[in-house]
Amino acid sequence: MGTGRVSQTSLRPVGGESSAATRTLPHVPGEPGVWIFLFGDMVVFGVFFATFMYQRAQAPELFDASRHTLSIGIGLTNTLVLLTSSLFVVTAVRAIRLSQRGAAQLMLAGALVCALIFIGLKAIEYTAKVAAGHVPTENDFYLYFFILTGLHLFHLLIGVAVLILLLTQARRSHLSATRIALVEGGACFWHLVDLLWIILFALLYLVS
């Protein structure tokens, strides 16, 4: 590729976390630019969360009552599914570093399956809610429920595209520094999707 620029990221040695030498060299996961996007998204979602809490304060009983009509089982399952998908992704990245291509591809496929399960459960949940009469226009809680989970789903769909991209990278026999950075950055985006859902689950299903 030869951009002539000094590489801003350090290559993580193949030894992995067990090697003491790696601890001395700080390594930016992905590349610095990715974190502009990740932090930016986290901050804006933080604003969304705060907006939700503000609305909740306007009508705490309504929010609590509406919360009880949610399918908390689906919410819980989805949280566990996403946590598992993140485990698959982080293990896949390790496999890629150790040049275990087959294992990496298997992990990423597993993460994709988790993503599809999440989407399927979401579809079931949305349909069930609407069938029971809980539509976004019903009250403020459901308005925010559908908007926040919808925005998250949008991010998750982008994440699916990213996972597929990671799968194509896992098939390569050799990854340059830039491609490793791409893989790490993509993995971090997936973890962002997971992390946002962790907060959403707590906010929407547990705390309201």
């Binding site: 630019g33 502009i36 996007f37 930016g40 604003v47 907006t51 908007i147 991010h155």
Partner: protein, 243 residues
């Protein structure tokens, strides 16, 4: 000479951003937006009570919206530099740039129409007012596409000295993702996705302002990169690429 004109174009964009805020907010008072949940009578009242300032602010926008064009032309030229010729991405940038000033002037036309005859039927005024907000807040597709193409170009730039640093690509992706909720305003009359809501209006407005300023700065730097390349080519007595 090229450099002066191009940098002026970049800063003209920022100046127009300031102009837009002055015209829509300070003069016309249309920001903060009125609520979509108002009745026709209430909407008509707003346009008749504040008719003069609305019409003056929007008239200025109709006249000056085109000042966004040089900024966008510069953006398209930088994309063309990365692409290497007037290819699909550069031309798409140009085509979408054509729609950009319309996002401001066309909506302003509906706005002045709404304020033009206070004595008319309030339903008509409300319909015209709705069109103003629909175009102003809801027409996000063209700009989102433009910045996604820009981000893509930043990432595929393989030259020795790239026009834009890689973080700028991620920055554009961030802006694109946050600009999307604006398209949902047609489905809501209240709440965060209505045209006066947090997600559909305030956040996209904030990130739009940030985007324009950051992009103007990055464009001036890209102009410097291009000027340096031009000098090197002149020193080596190489032909400049056509257009």
């Amino acid at each position: 000479m090229h450099v002066t004109i191009e940098k002026t174009a970049a800063w003209l964009g920022v100046a127009m951003l300031g102009g837009f805020m002055v015209m829509f907010w300070f003069i016309a008072g249309l920001i903060p937006p009125m609520s979509p949940a108002l009745t026709a009578e209430q909407t008509a009242h707003i346009y008749s009570d504040h008719g003069l300032r609305i019409r003056i602010g929007l008239t200025l926008m109709i006249l000056f919206a085109w000042l966004f064009a040089p900024f966008l032309a510069l953006l398209s030229r930088q994309v063309r530099r990365i692409e290497g010729y007037w290819g699909v991405m550069s031309l798409t940038q140009v085509m979408l740039s054509v729609t950009f000033p319309f996002g401001f002037s066309l909506c302003a036309l509906f706005g002045v129409a709404a304020a033009y005859r206070p004595e008319r039927n309030p339903d008509v005024t409300q319909a015209l007012s709705d069109m103003f907000w629909f175009i102003f807040v809801g027409l996000v597709g063209p700009l989102i596409t433009q910045v996604v193409i820009l981000a893509f170009c930043v990432f595929i730039d393989r030259r020795q000295v790239p026009s834009f640093p890689r973080w700028f690509g991620y920055f554009n992706i961030w802006y694109a993702v946050l600009g999307v909720p604006g398209c949902a305003i047609y489905l809501f009359k209240a709440g965060p996705l209505a045209w006066n809501g947090v997600f559909a209006f305030w956040i996209p407005l904030t990130v739009f302002c940030i985007w324009m300023i950051v992009t103007a700065i990055m464009l001036t730097k890209a102009v410097d990169v291009e000027a340096a390349e031009r000098e090197v080519r002149a020193a080596n007595r190489e032909w400049e690429p056509a257009a």
